[in-house]
Symmetry: C2
Subunit: 341 residues, 2 copies
């Protein structure tokens, strides 16, 4: 048996979340309902609660439909997983695209509105809109797992091993409902992403079919697009690194996605986090109009194989002025961070 019970959007128990026009976005059906609702009600104004991946991507989707969009979050900055310096760039992009962001703002309740269908009462006052999207995270669906007595990991998701087997022989679990091994923190974590689910499904299928295959884990590579920005990260941030017992040092550099020799500067910010004790890279973040995901994928391979900064600073990348500089932002950041070890 394979459990692929997935995850559900987390909806807080506040009054009014059941009102028509309040949505979460997890399934294809959710997306279809939102689209229909916008069309049928000629929505002009939306509030998004939560400034994570879904909140950021949906702010772009709403603006593309010409809908006035506001995003609120309990945390002070959008995309909190990224460095404050990068959150600032993300915030500037939101502002440029007429998305209003309000940080340190919590939901209190939802009720019928006066000028618009719905009113959202927040810790910072009231707002009205035609619709409200709640995107404050998801929870693994573990009811069946609990019912049949499977071990649940400390992350709250189903505990699995390298073959995707659970604590009960013959029972496998894959996708958003289960944990995954993190190759940098060396812990089992809950990173519910579509590409991870795809891979786990294939591994479990192979093993059930009599083959032998292990899922080697993840390094935490992730990305989203926000209007003209690519935002990407991999590995650990400083707080996660400290929690693992590492001694993180970090640096941020601003370089160009392409060579300085060519017109049309494309600014690219790269942050590296390394361990002072071992010199190993622990994590990376990048933000820019182009080239951010490319660098994060390359650095994900660095994390995968456990390389130290000395090597990263001189690693061989495909150089040609239109597509990169002889010293790539990856090299420059690694050299800068070496000085802090």
């Amino acid at each position: 048996m394979i459990l692929g019970t997935g995850s559900s959007a987390f909806i807080p128990k506040i009054s009014g979340v059941e009102l028509e026009g309040v949505f979460s976005l997890k399934t294809l059906d959710d997306a279809i309902h939102i689209k229909k609702f916008i069309h049928n009600n000629n929505c002009r104004k939306a509030i998004i609660v939560g400034a994570g991946f879904i909140g950021m991507e949906m702010s772009e989707a709403f603006r593309m439909r010409g809908i006035d969009t506001a995003v609120i979050d309990l945390l002070p900055r959008p995309a909190i997983r990224w460095d404050p310096e990068f959150s600032k760039v993300i915030l500037e992009e939101l502002t440029r695209q007429n998305v209003i962001f309000s940080g340190d703002t919590g939901m209190v309740s939802i009720e019928q509105g006066k000028d618009f269908r719905l009113r959202l009462n927040t810790t910072k006052g009231e707002m009205e809109a035609d619709m409200i999207l709640i995107a404050i995270g998801i929870r693994p669906n573990t009811k069946i797992a609990n019912d049949i007595g499977l071990q649940i990991g400390s992350s709250g998701a189903i505990q699995v091993n390298f073959s995707q087997g659970t604590s009960k022989e013959g029972v496998y679990a894959v996708g958003d409902c289960c944990e995954v091994y993190h190759r940098v923190s060396h812990r089992w974590v809950h990173i519910p992403l579509g590409d991870v689910a795809n891979k786990q499904g294939r591994v479990a299928g192979r093993n059930i079919g009599g083959g032998t295959m292990i899922f080697p884990g993840v390094v935490g590579a992730q990305s989203f697009k926000l209007f003209s920005l690519e935002v990407a990260a991999t590995g650990l941030d400083e707080a996660e690194a400290i929690a693992c017992g590492y001694f993180p040092v970090s640096t941020i550099i601003w370089g160009n996605a392409f060579s300085r020799m060519l017109p049309g500067e494309k600014r690219l910010g790269v942050k590296l986090v390394a361990d002072r004790a071992s010199g190993k890279l622990l994590g990376a973040q990048a933000v820019g109009t182009i080239g951010a995901v490319s660098r994060i994928n390359t650095l994900s391979l660095v994390l995968w194989s456990g390389m130290v900064l000395d090597e990263i600073a001189y690693v061989d990348l495909a150089y040609s002025p239109p597509v990169g500089a002889s010293w790539d932002p990856i090299h420059i950041a690694a050299q800068e961070l070496m000085r802090k070890l």
Copy 2:
């Protein structure tokens, strides 16, 4: 002492190469002379001899100036380092951009032309143009090295060690004049590229200054842009792999630079070469309007750390529909090639 004597464009000893309007392109002065010549003579037609990096890049530069451009090469295909399937894409791009390519064609002599300044006699007949660019490779400048008795490697470039030291104590060499360690073939080779020279220079400087630093070598990452195409490669091709004693198998897949879920297909070809005996990746090539260099850089890190296909097929990359698919072309190619092991 550091030797940074560089390399020189190779000019064959045929009659007429000394005529005005015949150029090679190696230095900044060469570029300035070419630009001036085009301007002063209102050039309308150019012939490029050699369809390597320089020949390809200059065909774009000439066409951007509105100059009719023909490229000839002794070899049957442009950019011969790439798979015939990719050469075909490159040839299609040249044709779309009105660059005429003639393969299996050798230079015989150059003389004064009738309708244009110069006539190039080739093994396939005569051609006329206002200017001729000879771009058939470079040779390391080793005269000084020979004069002082330094060991020359089998590639014809100066032999160096991991600290950039030559066979004479206290004498270092860096850049196009010397060899470099190839981490996949485990041989010392001559790969004269700007980024390698930059790194070697820094390593030699550190060691001369009393520090301790080694240059860890290259994996052969390289790229060029040809009009709307990115063309990139890393590691070994099949012939090189066989010469090293490996047992190469390869596959080419055509995927999308981004996810299939979004409109605007961006075709991306990825070729992987692996060793049947060990399952290790040996080389990769990619061609597409976007995303080719990004994949090659990621795969360069794979080569750097010596990963096997099983791992590459499930490696963690930053997934998000606008920037990549849940199964990246890298994963798909690795899975396809696993079946051939």
